[in-house]
Amino acid sequence: MRVLGIETSCDETGVAVYDGERGLVANAVYSQVEIHAEYGGVVPELASRDHVRKTLPLVRQVLAEAGLAAGDIDGIAYTAGPGLIGALLVGAALGRSLAWAWGVPALGVHHMEGHLLAPLLEEPAPAFPFVALLVSGGHTQLVDVAGVGRYRILGESLDDAAGEAFDKTAKILELPYPGGPNLARLAERGDPRRYRFPRPMTDRPGLDFSFSGLKTFTLQTLNEELPRAADRAQTRADIARAFEEAVVDTLVIKCRRAVREGGRRRLILAGGVSANRRLRERMGQMMAEEGGEVFYPRLGLCTDNGAMIAFAGWQRLRTGQCEPLAFSPRARWPMTSLPPV
């Protein structure tokens, strides 16, 4: 079975084809990052306007790259939430309508399930069960995964998502948009021993997160340190490093707890922040200490993409799941409400 996947939940237009026998056969992403850079964040209406211009050309491009024609696609999966409703509607309307025209089944896919299953696109793929850390600009969740659609939320952020904390702190450090990756780049030049930031909510039991206090702490540190700094550039790098260490360390502490408490041997990392080099290193060390393994997708599949949507859709469509001739994406949609496969 070959599934076309369409992702338009935020500021990336992604289209891909997943083939049950050959794996991922085509994958293209168009990023709107330049459109939103001027505003310092994603402008929903501009995102929607761009999706409606870019999605169909990307579908054409992906089919051409894969050497596929209309009759070669057996199902269509599109992101049905969570995300920006106007942006979601573009991919949903186009995907559902194209499936109608081709006479193939269609399915609205949960964006975070897409991220969660993305590491299964790699070799070797992690076997179920595992613990998943979903970290992106919109989400920070620890999920126990027994199988496709068998999810238990172990913990989540009570305020800012980890990626959001990266982006907001980057703004405080006056780094250009998109802030997260730029902050990580600056942190590489920083001295991890100069400052130590708090590790929020690690001094108590539980697996929830809170990252909003860290950006305030960063701002205070910056205001105190920068005026009397001999080397301002180095001080900013040191502060960025301290922030990154605090976020990464907090995530590592909670993941270790989750793996131990659940008796799991495998941890997967997914979502935009899972591209962070330091996070990958530290999680690798931690799981080695725990006698387990860590899995994550290649960098291009960490950020939003159509491949993960095609793959998650394929997991469900192949079992006969599909939807009626309608589309109704949702801005909010708890992942635990998904049916098991």
């Binding site: 501009l46 106007g86 573009v90 991919g91 309307a93 309508s97 109608w100």
Partner: protein
């Protein structure tokens, strides 16, 4: 000629099937539920007529102006269906289709169409319609304050569309002496889109699926830092 027309630009969701001058329409006024209805309406119309999507000559849609999200729903639906069935697309102005609605319902042939655009503005277009209902745009389509709409040189016009409800006083003050009547309850329907599209398609043909794009008129949607 056979074509299927879509409108989701406002509160109503409608689809119409045009078969050589005979038109059938499904319409429901259900705000925010367009996605649940629009494809089933289209599928139902085709089934009823014993037609297949690929057997049509073209698809048409109300390309705006109107609700940004609403206009994009019809756009994306038509892009997907047109690409999938390899059909050309005929984009039709929401304002022109509304003028045609006034002609179809009341025989009105001089329409000052105003659709409520929120933010104290209206989407505006002045249309003269021929005896067969073919609209001719006088001036340009625009989004502007009701106090600033262009005033025609001559009289005997009808005010048409939701803008005449939302900004009745301001529009009547601006257009004093130019108006004969008002049809504020007329709104864009797929059957009017189909009428105009059939004519446009016969004269000019359609565009490729990816060239079927919204016309928003309001392009300033952000405030730069």
């Amino acid at each position: 000629m056979k074509l299927l027309a879509f409108d989701t630009s406002g509160e109503a969701c409608s689809v119409a099937l045009w078969c050589d001058g005979d038109v059938r329409q499904r319409l429901e006024r259900v705000p925010r539920r367009h996605g649940e209805l629009v494809l089933a309406m289209a599928d139902g119309l085709l089934a009823e007529a014993g037609l297949r999507l690929a057997g049509l000559d073209a698809l048409a849609f109300a390309r705006g102006p109107g609700s940004f999200t609403g206009v994009r729903i019809a756009t994306a639906v038509v892009q997907g269906a047109a690409f999938g069935a390899d059909l050309p697309v005929v984009p039709v102005s929401t304002l022109a289709a509304t003028a045609h609605g006034a002609f179809r319902q009341q025989g009105v042939r001089r329409c000052l169409v105003a659709i409520d655009a929120r933010m104290d503005q209206v989407y505006w277009g002045a249309y003269r319609l021929a005896a067969d209902g073919a609209p001719e745009l006088v001036g340009d389509e625009a989004v502007l304050a009701p106090e600033a709409v262009p005033v025609p040189a001559d009289a005997d016009w009808y005010g048409v569309g939701s803008g005449w409800q939302a900004h009745r006083a301001a529009l009547h003050a601006r257009l004093a002496g130019r108006l004969t009547g008002e049809l504020a309850e007329v709104f864009c329907e797929a059957q009017d889109v189909a009428h105009l599209a059939a004519d446009l398609f016969a004269r000019e043909g359609g565009v490729a699926a990816e060239a079927a794009l919204p016309v928003y008129l309001r392009d300033r949607v952000t405030f730069s830092r």
